[in-house]
C-alpha cells in the first residue's frame, strides 16, 4: 500500500505539466503572424485540449473581410485537439484566421490571428 501511495505521489510530482482546462491555441500552420511564400492548402490549429467538432469553427478572411476558406472545418481523425479547414489557392496578401471552439468540458473559447502570403 505504501508503495502504491509513493508511486502515486511520484507521478503527481514528477509527471504531467499543468492542464489548461479551457481550449486555447497551442500551435498553428501557418504559424501565428508568419509569412508564407506559397499559398497553404489548409489552416491547421492545434489546441491545448480536445475540442467538440460540432461547435468548433475556423474561418479565414482576406483583407477586404471576405471569407475565403472552403467551409469544411473538420477534426483530425487521430488528434482530437487538431482542427483543420481547407483553403483555395490564395493570392498574396494578409489573411485573418478566426477560431471558436468548445472543449469537451463545454467551455467556449475564441481568438484570431493573421498570416501573410508573400507570393
Amino acid at each position: 500500500m505504501k508503495r502504491i501511495i509513493f508511486v502515486f505521489f511520484l507521478i503527481i510530482v514528477a509527471g504531467p505539466a499543468r492542464l489548461e482546462a479551457h481550449a486555447f491555441l497551442k500551435d498553428a500552420i501557418p504559424s501565428v503572424g508568419s509569412t508564407v511564400q506559397t499559398s497553404p492548402n489548409e489552416v491547421r490549429i492545434r489546441f491545448t485540449e480536445n475540442v467538440e467538432p460540432a461547435f468548433s469553427s475556423i474561418q479565414v478572411f482576406n483583407a477586404s473581410g471576405k471569407e475565403v476558406d472552403k467551409r469544411d472545418v473538420r477534426l483530425d481523425r487521430t488528434d482530437h485537439a487538431l482542427l483543420r479547414v481547407s483553403l483555395p489557392s490564395l493570392e498574396a496578401g494578409i489573411y485573418k484566421v478566426v477560431w471558436r471552439v468548445v472543449s469537451v468540458d463545454t467551455h467556449v473559447t475564441s481568438g484570431n490571428f493573421t498570416f501573410q502570403v508573400a507570393r
Binding site: 510530482v13 492542464l19 489548461e20 485540449e49 469537451v104 468540458d105
Partner: protein, 306 residues
C-alpha cells in the same frame, strides 16, 4: 446571469449525486453488517433513506435538465428562450461528450427511480436491490468526472482517475452525513437501536477516515494538474477559490475529528447516552451544511479557468 444559473444547476446536480451515492453506501456499509435488517427499526430507517433517495433523484433530474438547457444556450450562443427552439439541443445531446454523459445520467436516473420505487413497495426485494442501487449510484456519481476540467485534459488517465476517486470519497463521507443524521434521530427515538449505535458509528468513522485520506491525495493530484504552481494558488481566481475550499475542508475535517475523538470515545466507553446522540446529530448536520458549501465552491471551480 447565465454564470450564476450554471453555478446553481451544478451545485444541485453535484450535491444530489453525492447524496444519492452516500445513501446507498451508508445502507450497504453501515446498516447491513448488523444482521438486524429484519427488525422494524432498520426497516423504518431504510424506508426513510429510500424516501430521501427519491428526493435526491428528483433534484438530480430537475437540475440535470436545467443544466442541459443552460449549456445548450452557452455552447450555441443562443438566448435561453431560443435554446430549445432550434436543433441546437439535439446537436449538444448527440454530438458532444457532455450530451453523451447526459444521456447516460438521465438513463441512470430513470432506472434508479424504478428500482427505488420497487424497493419502497416490497421489503423482501429491498436486500437484493440495495447493492444494485449502490453500484448504480456510484456510476451516476463518477460520470460527473467525464464533464469536468479533468476530462478535457490531455494527461489521461491521471486526470480522470483523480476526479473519480475524489467523487467516490466525497460520496462515501459527505454523502453519508444526512443518512447518519437520520440514523441518529431514529436511534434517539427508540431504545431498541441502542446496541447498534456504537458499531455503526465506528464503521462510519473508519469509512470517513479512508475517504478523507483519498480526498487529500486525489485533491493534491488534481490541484497539481489544474493549478500548476503554489504561486498560482494566490494569484488566480481558481487558486483563491481552491484555497477557500481547502479552508472549509479543513473545518470539515476538524468537525469529523472532534466527532471521532470526543463524542465517539465517550460513546464507546460508557453506555449509549441519550444526551450524546442529539449532540452528535447536531455536529453531523453542521458537517453536512459545510459539505454543501464545499459543493457550491466545486460548482464555481467547474466554470472557472484554472
Amino acid at each position: 446571469m447565465l454564470t450564476a444559473l450554471l453555478i446553481i444547476a451544478r451545485t444541485v446536480q453535484i450535491a444530489a449525486s453525492i447524496l444519492f451515492a452516500g445513501i446507498f453506501t451508508f445502507d450497504l456499509v453501515m446498516l447491513a453488517p448488523d444482521g438486524r435488517l429484519g427488525s422494524g427499526d432498520f426497516q423504518e430507517i431504510e424506508r426513510r433513506l429510500l424516501r430521501l433517495a427519491v428526493w435526491s433523484l428528483v433534484a438530480a433530474l430537475l437540475s440535470a435538465l436545467f443544466w442541459f438547457w443552460l449549456e445548450v444556450a452557452s455552447i450555441s450562443q443562443l438566448s435561453l428562450r431560443n435554446a430549445f427552439s432550434t436543433a441546437g439541443w439535439k446537436t449538444v445531446l448527440f454530438e458532444t461528450q457532455f450530451g453523451r454523459v447526459w444521456q447516460l445520467r438521465l438513463g441512470l436516473i430513470a432506472v434508479a427511480f424504478a428500482l427505488v420505487a420497487a424497493g419502497r413497495a416490497q421489503v423482501k426485494t429491498r436486500r437484493t436491490l440495495i447493492p444494485v442501487l449502490w453500484l448504480l449510484s456510484v456510476v451516476f456519481l463518477v460520470s460527473l468526472a467525464w464533464i469536468s476540467h479533468a476530462a478535457a485534459a490531455r494527461v489521461q488517465p491521471l486526470g480522470l482517475l483523480g476526479d473519480v476517486l475524489h467523487l467516490c470519497a466525497a460520496g462515501g463521507w459527505i454523502g453519508g452525513l444526512i443518512p447518519l443524521a437520520i440514523f441518529l434521530a431514529r436511534a434517539r427515538a427508540t431504545a431498541s437501536l441502542g446496541e447498534t449505535v456504537v458499531p455503526t458509528l465506528r464503521r462510519f468513522s473508519t469509512l470517513s477516515l479512508c475517504c478523507v485520506s483519498i480526498l487529500i491525495i486525489s485533491g493534491i493530484s488534481n490541484s497539481c494538474l489544474l493549478v500548476g504552481s503554489f504561486y498560482a494558488l494566490f494569484t488566480t481566481a481558481y487558486g483563491r477559490l481552491l484555497l477557500f475550499k481547502l479552508v472549509l475542508f479543513g473545518i470539515l475535517v476538524g468537525f469529523g475529528t472532534r466527532n471521532r475523538l470526543a463524542i465517539k470515545t465517550k460513546l464507546l466507553k460508557v453506555e449509549v447516552r441519550s444526551d450524546l446522540l442529539p449532540q452528535l446529530r447536531r455536529t453531523v448536520i453542521c458537517e453536512a451544511c459545510l459539505g454543501a458549501a464545499v459543493v457550491a465552491i466545486v460548482a464555481c471551480l467547474g466554470i472557472t479557468q484554472p
